[in-house]
C-alpha cells in the first residue's frame, strides 16, 4: 500500500496538494516522504503527524500510514 499524504492550510494552498499518495519504501522516514513529494527540505515551522499523532521528521513510516504536513496551528 502507498503512503497517504495530506496537506493543510497555507501549505495545502502553496503546494496545491490536498491529498496524494507516495509509494512506500522500507526504512522510509517522514522526512523522506516530504522530500519525495516536494524535492525540497522541510521548511522551518513545518509540522507533521503520522496516523493522527504529532511526530518528528525522523520518525519511520509504515506501509499504509497516513502522513500529514501543516503549518503552526491557529485554532481556538
Amino acid at each position: 500500500m502507498p503512503i497517504s499524504v495530506k496537506c493543510f492550510a497555507s501549505l495545502r494552498e502553496r503546494l496545491n496538494v490536498d491529498k496524494m499518495s507516495v509509494p512506500y519504501e522500507s526504512e522510509m522516514t517522514v522526512q523522506d516522504v516530504w522530500q519525495q513529494m516536494t524535492n525540497q527540505s522541510p521548511p522551518d515551522n513545518l509540522l507533521c503527524a503520522r496516523n493522527h499523532e504529532y511526530v518528528n521528521f525522523a520518525e519511520t513510516v509504515r506501509d499504509g500510514d497516513e502522513i500529514a504536513f501543516f503549518p503552526p496551528v491557529t485554532g481556538g
Binding site: 493543510f8 493522527h52 491557529t74 481556538g76
Partner: protein
C-alpha cells in the same frame, strides 16, 4: 462528556444550558463550573477582518479534543467536560470555541478549563484564514496565553 466540531453558528450559553439539562450531570453534584468562549473579533493584528475560514484535520482534531478532555477529566477529577469548536466560514461576533469544566470545587474547574484551552490553542489542528481589506491571510501562529 461531549466534544463536537460544528460548521454552523451556535450560541455557547444555550449549549451549556442544554447540556446541563440533558442528564449527564447529576443535579446537586457539582459546585463549580468554569466556561471559556473564544469569539471572532472584527479586528486582528492592526487590521479589520470581515470574514474568517476555519479549517481542521478531520479525524485527528476530534481525537485530540477528546484526548485532552479525557486527560483533564482524569487529572483534575472533573465531573464533566464540554468542548465545541466552530469550523468553516465565520463572521465577526460568532463564537468559535467553547470549553467548559464542571467539578465539585472551584480550583479544579478553573485550572482544567484554562489548561484545556491552552492545549487546544497550541496543539489542536485548526487553521484560520482571515479576509482583510487587502486580501486573504493565513494567521501565522497563536499567541501564548
Amino acid at each position: 462528556m461531549k466534544i463536537e466540531i460544528r460548521s454552523e453558528p451556535y450560541d455557547p450559553w444555550l449549549e451549556i444550558s442544554l447540556y446541563q439539562e440533558s442528564g449527564g450531570l447529576t443535579p446537586g453534584s457539582f459546585g463549580a463550573c468554569s466556561a471559556f468562549v473564544g469569539t471572532m473579533r472584527d479586528f486582528n493584528d492592526g487590521s479589520a477582518v470581515s470574514v474568517m475560514e476555519l479549517e481542521h484535520y478531520e479525524g485527528m482534531t476530534e481525537q485530540q479534543l477528546s484526548n485532552l478532555a479525557q486527560e483533564a477529566q482524569a487529572s483534575y477529577g472533573l465531573l464533566d467536560v464540554l468542548i465545541l469548536h466552530r469550523v468553516g466560514k465565520i463572521s465577526p461576533n460568532d463564537p468559535i470555541v467553547l470549553v467548559v469544566a464542571w467539578s465539585a470545587h472551584r480550583a479544579a474547574a478553573f485550572d482544567a478549563c484554562r489548561d484545556m484551552m491552552e492545549l487546544l490553542k497550541s496543539k489542536a489542528t485548526f487553521w484560520k484564514k482571515e479576509t482583510r481589506p487587502d486580501g486573504h491571510r493565513w494567521v501565522s501562529q497563536n499567541t501564548s496565553g
